[in-house]
Symmetry: C2
Subunit: 139 residues, 2 copies
DNA sequence: CTTGAACCTCTAGTCGCTAGAGGAATTACA
DNA sequence: TGTAATTCCTCTAGCGACTAGAGGTTCAAG
């Protein structure tokens, strides 16, 4: 199976300019070209791009993905670093969730105190934003 | 109370270059200057900056904050738009939490399947990243 | 063979800051 | 009052991870 850049984009869900960007950043190899200078990709390019996409969706940085791709080139090495990258990401995701939950609580409190009908001068949303003392969070 | 830019930074938790950036972006007014061209802020500048900071901490975009500041200049208008901005933000925050929770689940599954001791070729983390079929999420 | 979609490169813009250079003003202390 | 440390000034450039657009070329279908 041979893909044009657009076909590859459809097959992986990565947009065309993003594919070119990944190539420029060295995450994927420059593919072969047609006589007319257009990119043509193969199955293994599609697999690599799917790997990248999945990692990005999981919140991995391009840096982390670059590391993983580098590691995958040495399949005989122990996978301790692979494990660590995943674990670090998990810690970060959990922290983000915690933080967002605190924000959710405060936003819910703020938003529910407003019926949208009184003048701005009396609006509790505005008051809440002006005055941080009501918050329990540490933001 | 008069603040130098550094004192204002300490008082609000907004970093010095960020204050200058907000000024350049028109979120805060250019303050008065000393003879030697240094910025000097007053209480109301501090309040406005605290408002901005609080909004940013709640995840509001600079755009949304700009809108709110604009609205606050018309304290007699009804606060329906204020309410809508807060409600929209709440919806977004909840969506972000949902999404992150799905990622957390997948990352936990991936990370727990790896003890860090086997070769990369056999690593489940790498396999999971290469192959999206095991995921239940829609990412 | 023509037409229209998809492709090419290149530059610049997005958001919300952050870092650094190179120099001037202010403040604290002797 | 002198001087040294700190803070301040402007300006430009960089970050991550793309996205948009201009202006031109190639490909594939009919």
């Amino acid at each position: 199976m041979i893909y044009s850049i657009g076909a590859l984009a459809r097959a992986t869900g990565v947009k065309v300019p993003t594919i070119r960007y990944y190539e420029a950043e060295g995450l994927i190899d420059p593919p072969i070209r047609t006589e007319g200078n257009q990119r043509r990709y193969q199955e293994r390019d599609r697999e690599r791009l799917a790997f990248i996409r999945h990692g990005r969706d999981l919140g991995l940085s391009m840096e982390a993905i670059r590391d993983l791709l580098e590691l995958s080139a040495h399949p005989e090495a122990p996978c301790a670093r692979v494990d660590r990258i995943a674990a670090e990401q998990l810690v970060e995701v959990r922290a983000r969730i915690e933080r967002l939950k605190r924000l959710e609580g405060e936003l819910a409190r703020i938003a529910s105190s407003c019926d949208g009908h009184h003048p701005i001068a009396d609006c509790n949303v505005m008051k809440a934003l002006s005055d941080h003392r009501h918050c329990d969070g540490d933001h």
